[in-house]
Symmetry: C2
Subunit: 702 residues, 2 copies
């Protein structure tokens, strides 16, 4: 037994013990049950810490690699620092308003600040790990691809478990201190604020830098991608971390805690007779999920053996990742059933079916996303139509994106009906918890993507051996798939979380009926639809302006810094990072503030039912649009890669040129607009719930 | 007083008499009131006939013009014949099903066949006039632009008044024979079937031909647009008639009769105490609208005087058109108020405000559409970004399209709330009537567009003098604006008509509440959203395949017909028309049938409330998507024109090449997908109302 296997067996054994203890915690008192959740959180945090120690002990490669990694690290820190400065002001203002307006004053504000702080901290940790693991992954690839895979996935688990562990830990501790559910809502709203800044701001940042770098570098000057002479190249690499680590992480984290809190709030009212047990069950399901994620992650291992072909390697990496997902899902389902059977006196099967429907939704949407965005019939058809030029390719890509929304929306509709049938509004929230429970495992896989992407970039810029670069590229290919899966999962989870919060809103605003025969509800639905288009137009405009500013700056540097093109001078990387950051912050404020003010205005000017319409409208219109944007973008990206692999003329052909246009169009759609809509449909729900006491007060008093 | 002025005074005098008689018809019996509507319909039909006689007496130009016009005429006839053959089978099957399943059997089927027949006839008349007036307009332009304007607008009035006159006439006669409202619903459903075939099928046809012609002609062979050597050039010109005359006409006609019937049905139940008077008021409002449209049209006249600059000419044409619209609206509002004051004993102001809110909605959406799609800040900004290549232009165009949805949706939401507040569900239907009342005038303006477009094409192909071609081009420029306005109006009217039918569905299915707290309603909403994306993906795919087939055929002809490129042989125009027709028919059947079956399935498998959700979901998701597609497409088109006018490098520059890509992407969006969504959101409402008795029967009996 190798040392690695031994340590896995030990971790696995401890995890099983903790899991069993959690399942049979029904014999304990309420406080002890909560301590079980705290213990499970500590366990995965300990695992993340143990992995971090191992990671930092690894060699970070050549001096040039060090240097490049440092630029990226500094850029990422600059971005986060700036974001957090503005976020601090934003959060301060919101906290003040909450402290004045929402009962129980001022504790909701405290919950809000806590939620903001923890989410910001988790994202900061994730980002710090990512910018340290990219160069270590590239360096490990100098030995073998299996070793590099090990490093990249281990780094992924650090981020994944740090994020979910921290979230669960603070949430549980908070419920022990504050028993008023409104404080918990404040906590979630804090996570939403961070997600708004990192996902929307990050999305605008990453594409401003990417498109700006490409337009001058590739198109005007004619230097390759990831060329260190391009002043925006570091900003582009920073963008990968900003968008896919901090942005995606904070987004999924938000879905995670908001699913848990929605289920806790609805659990309290659904199982009023059980007292606080209704609120503890979702937390315990979450704890079981932490443990099953950990067990799944232990089964992901770098395959031993000789070097094989590119395709075989890709397949093996996929296999081991899938093994991890399957095992964690299976373990979770068994454990969740036992837990429910022990804790609930009735409805065991019903609630379990809700958990299952949520898990299945996430599970089904993955392959659908994969089918429409990877090398299958739609993408190959798009690559073929690229031969007729960019226009036909873009039309085709829009059609594929639209088609790709059909099954996911249908699946979500079915899951909603099933969950509601079995356990009412609480069932919808529980489905959302079931979907998110294994987030630890999924985040590990997801964070693996940008790490390998960055590693490939560093290998390229540091001019490592061809075989090393090929290994990084292979790992990155898998990373693109996992990233696409994560995007699909993020959207689906946003939809279920939004539904759960719609349910919570009905509960907190005491709405039994919001009928589409009521013109106020219809007006709300329309305004929700309008918000989606307004929000996505504004974020797209933000990317356009940010890219334009980046282009100006890159042009200026090539004009004013002597020897830049010759490679004898170093560009001012930091300035490009700065410019993209400032633009991202500017562009996200207006849509962010509108998303907060419009539900408030609708609640004040119309009525609480109109706000329910607004939530439903924004979900209904935003969901397919987000899926379409993400999948069209992914499909264009992969159509380009398919052509670059030598099909339909390969690199340099007319089809390839057309596919570059498609890819550029898709970039902001899939990395800015689509993900931003996730935030929108979740944010309005939180706003509505937070403001619900004000709306109902008005109805009763005016 | 010239002969022209004299005849206008006579027509105006007669119209005023008829109008006054209609307003004061409250003293008459029910049958006589209906005869007043018949008389108003006959009046505008007589005007159309009188204009037709004048048109046919005009000279159709040179032999070459004759020949080209004949090709177009034959192509258009081929298309219509084929469409009508399949439509006949389709309508036969539907009629059979209706005769078996829906009470009062078999009269609903008779109403359906009548509706189908009248709408098909109206479109056939419109098309026949259009293919005869194009060459006469071009010929008149050889004398002066004012004369050409006169011919084109007079032809527009023939189509406009033939369509509304026929619709109102048959509808009224039918209500005299059949008093069961379900027969009227059958009549409307017939109009919807025709609109489905002509608008969706026509939309696919026109863009298959257009894109196919351009891809081989302009891109591969390098011959100019509208070059008679291109085998697909006639199909392209046929497409203008098919899409913008038959398609747009049948679409607006459908909104027109469906607004009227929805208001009649809801009027019957709202004013149950008044007996059939509730149903007669909407018809009388329609009659008053016919007359005010006629009066407005009389005020559109070719300005006398010397030739002025291009810009001044354009301005003058706009002015005279606007005068017609303003006058018809003003006359209608005064007449509508007097009518309501005479006929209703209460609610006069309330119902009038509903009429006003509908009229205002149509009126506000026009300038908004114009702002986002004509030479204003957004389009100029897009032209500027075309300098950075097609990708940025396309991103920018999508953002502009999204932004352009915000105000229209808001306006529709406000109109809904206002109309409902004042007169409940009936108010929404009346708002829809108010919006559509002046359709005669609007259709005249709208049909003017494709006629001048075709005239410009014929002038080009027949190689008329430069000054003649310039005059035609000037008229066509105005035509593009009126076409864009008509598109915005068509979408807005579809939205109000869909709302009116949602209201009718509540009424016929006896639904008092369809709450978004009910999972079945949520499932319905999601399925409605899904349908929109499915439908628009399928129609886009249809255009792609149709264009591909056209490309193959054009290539084959250039390969196999000797002397084609040299201009010594005549291409097989008819074959291209045939191919595009067959593809259009094939591609529209699946989306059409799905649109009929899905609401039925939802009603059978879920419940009537879920169907209400489906209607609301498809409207809510389809409306912004349709507006975005139409306006993005229009904006790309005009960004190209702005560059071609010499800005940002003008013709042949990189910006121009990028703008051609944008325009090609926009073509199917604005001419196929957007308009098809109009049909979808209206069709599902009709299906729901038709099937309502089955749904409710199931609820009560199973």
């Amino acid at each position: 037994m190798t040392q690695e296997t031994l340590s896995k067996v030990i971790w696995g054994g401890i995890a099983l013990l903790f899991g069993a203890a959690t399942i049979f915690a029904d014999r304990l008192g309420l406080a002890e049950k909560r301590w079980m959740v705290v213990a499970a959180s500590m366990l995965v945090l300990a695992y993340a810490g143990w992995q971090t120690r191992a990671l930092l002990s690894l060699d970070a490669g050549t001096e040039r690699m060090h240097e490049l990694a440092q630029y990226i690290r500094e850029g990422a820190q600059t971005f986060l620092r700036r974001e957090y400065q503005v976020l601090a002001i934003f959060a301060g203002v919101i906290a003040l308003l909450l402290a004045v307006a929402i009962e129980p004053r001022p504790w909701v504000a405290v919950g809000y600040l806590l939620g903001t702080g923890v989410s910001a901290l988790a994202s900061w940790i994730g980002m710090s790990v990512a910018v340290r693991s990219n160069t270590r992954t590239a360096n490990a690839a100098r030995n073998s691809w299996a070793e590099a895979l090990g490093v990249a996935f281990a780094s992924g688990t650090i981020m994944g478990f740090a994020i979910v562990g921290l979230g669960m830990l603070t949430l549980t501790l908070m419920t022990m201190i504050f028993t008023d559910a409104y404080v918990w809502l404040g906590f979630v709203f804090g996570a939403t604020s961070v997600a708004l800044f990192l996902r929307v701001g990050g999305g605008i940042f990453t594409k401003s830098a990417d498109v700006g770098a490409d337009l001058v570098g590739k198109v005007e000057i004619g230097i390759p991608e990831d060329d260190p002479r391009n002043p925006a190249v570091i900003a582009d690499n920073v963008g990968d971390n900003v968008g896919d680590i901090a942005g995606m992480g904070s987004d999924l984290y938000e879905s995670y805690v908001s699913a848990l809190v929605a289920a806790m709030v609805l659990g309290l009212s659904t199982y009023a007779a059980l007292g606080e047990t209704g609120a503890i069950v979702p937390l315990l399901l979450g704890a079981v999920g932490l443990i099953s994620s950990l067990i799944g992650a232990l089964f992901v291992s770098a395959p031993k053996g000789d070097e094989t072909s590119f395709e075989e390697q890709v397949q093996k990496v996929h296999q081991t990742m899938n093994r991890g997902v399957y095992i964690s899902n299976a373990v979770f389902l068994v454990a969740a059933y036992l837990l429910l059977a022990n804790f609930l006196e009735q409805d065991v099967i019903a609630v379990f079916l809700c958990v299952l429907s949520g898990l299945a939704t996430g599970f089904i949407i993955g392959p659908i996303t994969e089918y429409y965005t990877s090398e299958h019939k739609p993408v190959i058809g798009m690559a073929e139509s690229a031969q007729s030029g960019p226009a036909i390719l873009i039309i085709d890509g829009l059609a594929v994106g639209k088609m790709s929304t059909v099954i996911p929306i249908f699946v979500i509709a079915v899951a909603t009906v099933v969950a509601f049938k079995f356990a009412g509004l609480f069932g919808i929230a529980i489905a959302s918890v079931g979907m998110m429970a294994n987030l630890g495992m999924l985040l590990s896989m997801d964070c693996y993507g940008p790490i390998t992407d960055n590693a490939a970039g560093i290998a390229e810029m540091a001019e490592l051996d061809l075989v090393v670069r090929e290994r990084c590229e292979m790992l990155d290919t898998v990373g693109n798939s996992t990233a696409a899966l994560a995007k699909g999962f993020a959207i689906a989870s946003a939809a279920l979380a939004a539904l759960a919060w719609l349910a919570t809103y009905f509960d907190t605003a005491n709405i039994a009926v919001a009928s589409i025969t009521d013109p106020q509800v219809i007006a709300g639905l329309f305004i929700g639809a309008m918000m989606v288009y307004l929000f996505s137009a504004l974020t797209m405009k933000g990317v356009g302006e940010g890219a334009f500013a980046t282009v100006e700056e890159v042009r200026r540097q090539f004009r004013e810094i002597p020897g830049l093109l010759a490679g004898t001078a170093i560009p001012d990387y930091a300035r490009c990072v700065d410019i993209a950051t400032i633009h991202a912050l500017h562009s996200m404020l207006l849509p962010g503030i509108l998303t907060i003010l419009i539900p408030l205005a609708v609640g004040l000017l119309l009525n609480p039912e109109a706000v329910a319409g607004l939530l439903a409208g924004s979900l209904l219109v935003g969901l397919p649009l987000a899926i379409m944007m993400a999948n069209s973008g992914g499909a264009w990206d992969n159509a380009k890669k398919y052509i670059e692999a030598g099909n339909f003329g390969g690199k340099g052909s007319d089809a390839h040129k057309a596919s570059v246009v498609g890819d550029t169009v898709g970039d902001p759609l899939k990395d800015t607009v689509g993900p931003s809509l996730d935030i929108l449909i979740k944010l309005v729900g939180k706003m509505a719930v937070i403001f619900a006491p004000i709306f109902t007060w008005i109805v009763w008093n005016i």
